[in-house]
Amino acid sequence: MYTQGLDSKTEHGTQPPPRLVTAEDNRFQERVDAEEKIEPRDWMPEGYRRTLVRQISQHAHSEIVGMLPEGNWITRAPSLRRKVALLAKVQDEGGHGLYLYSAAETLGVSRDELVEQLLSGKAKYSSIFNYPTPTWADIGAIGWLVDGAAIMNQVPLCRCSYGPYARAMVRICREESFHQRQGYELMLALATGTAEQKRMAQDALNRWWWPALMMFGPSDDQSAHSAQNMAWKIKRFSNDELRQRFVDATVPQAEFLGLTIPDPDLRLDPESGHHRFGAIDWTEFNEILKGNGPCNRERIEARRKAWDEGAWVREAASAHAAKRAARALKKAG
């Protein structure tokens, strides 16, 4: 999902060496098993802390980078209604990034370190934000499919064992349902519009369908950390389970739009009630994670540019705060 980089075996090489299980580890696991929440100052295994810092920060980076493909369309939205919706959605994503960075900071990592990791290209973020948004229909497809997939993944994260992460996810999920609905509404307007508009909608679906499925991360048999993360209740469902749920939810929505999902192997399995889908091209996914996607370089460059061009704002805010503090001191003295 937004943190799919964690799942890839290639990133870490082999599994970490086994370590001795201590009494503290066991007590910790008992608390997690009993569905007790873990709070920042509680004892936790180093692996738990490390995994959470990586997962939450990747999630935060994804929100921040995720503002770029859509922000690109704010000035070109076709009506005021669409424009305020898009503006509000992108603003929400900035807020979601903040909630998540704050949650990561409770684990002892500083905001500066996290920003630095993103700008240096060291940090990972979701593969989905490395695709371009050449047409207005892409904004609809992102809301419908990308936010739809995100919600599917994030709702279970509201029950994550780590309190600050779970609380951030509750806020995010509450805000995010409008994102998916505005996207679907936009797709519906195009799909029921002129022939050219419908073509645009179909074209966007064609380009976003497979990348949306890849958002759930590698298949379970390829996923490196699933078992431990499930035991720690950082993760509640496997990648494949969530992907299947997403497909089952989305296929009827596409049918309602009168659009065709670009998968010739897609069929309803009457016995299980699940929609079976074709093979995913994981080469494309791995290339994007390695930094070779269509927009990887552009996204990081845009973040660097925003950071550099915002330097004077940060300096001015610090100077202003210092001046006000000095004045208050003088008045008091």
């Binding site: 709070e39 920042p40 100052r41 509680d42 004892w43 509000a88 603003q91 929400d92 807020g95 903040l98 909630y99 704050s102 900071e105 409770t106 684990l107 002892g108 500083s110 905001r111 500066d112 370190e113 609380r167 951030a168 806020r171 805000e175 805010a317 610090s318 202003h320 705060a321 006000r324 503090a325």
Partner: protein
């Protein structure tokens, strides 16, 4: 405990509390970095009250909060557990007695 944040580039951390409506207490909603308290309030408004979540904001420097240590949980809170006589149900009152 998380190691203290010693990076001086970072603006101080503020914990944000929101009163959802008059009659209710302020409740912790999250945190943010800001150059000073006024900026913390401005940013808290933009981040935590975009959908009518509140009528009042407190921004408290995180460094000013004194917190109990989770490892002292037992010595702090367990003494209360065996003092059941602090609860009204500890006392036997005949059913015939009303309004008590």
């Amino acid at each position: 405990m998380a190691p203290p944040n010693t990076d001086r580039k970072d603006w101080p951390l503020f914990e944000i509390f929101i009163r959802p409506k008059n009659g209710l207490s302020h409740k912790h909603v999250g945190s943010l970095h800001a150059a000073d308290a006024r900026m913390a309030l401005d940013n808290a408004r933009d981040v935590y009250t975009r959908r009518g979540e509140g009528v009042s904001i407190w921004a408290v420097p995180a460094a000013s909060i004194a917190a109990s240590d989770p490892s002292e949980k037992a010595s702090l809170f367990e003494p209360a557990d065996d003092k059941i006589y602090r609860h009204p149900t500890f006392y036997d009152i005949p059913a015939a007695v009303k309004n008590i």
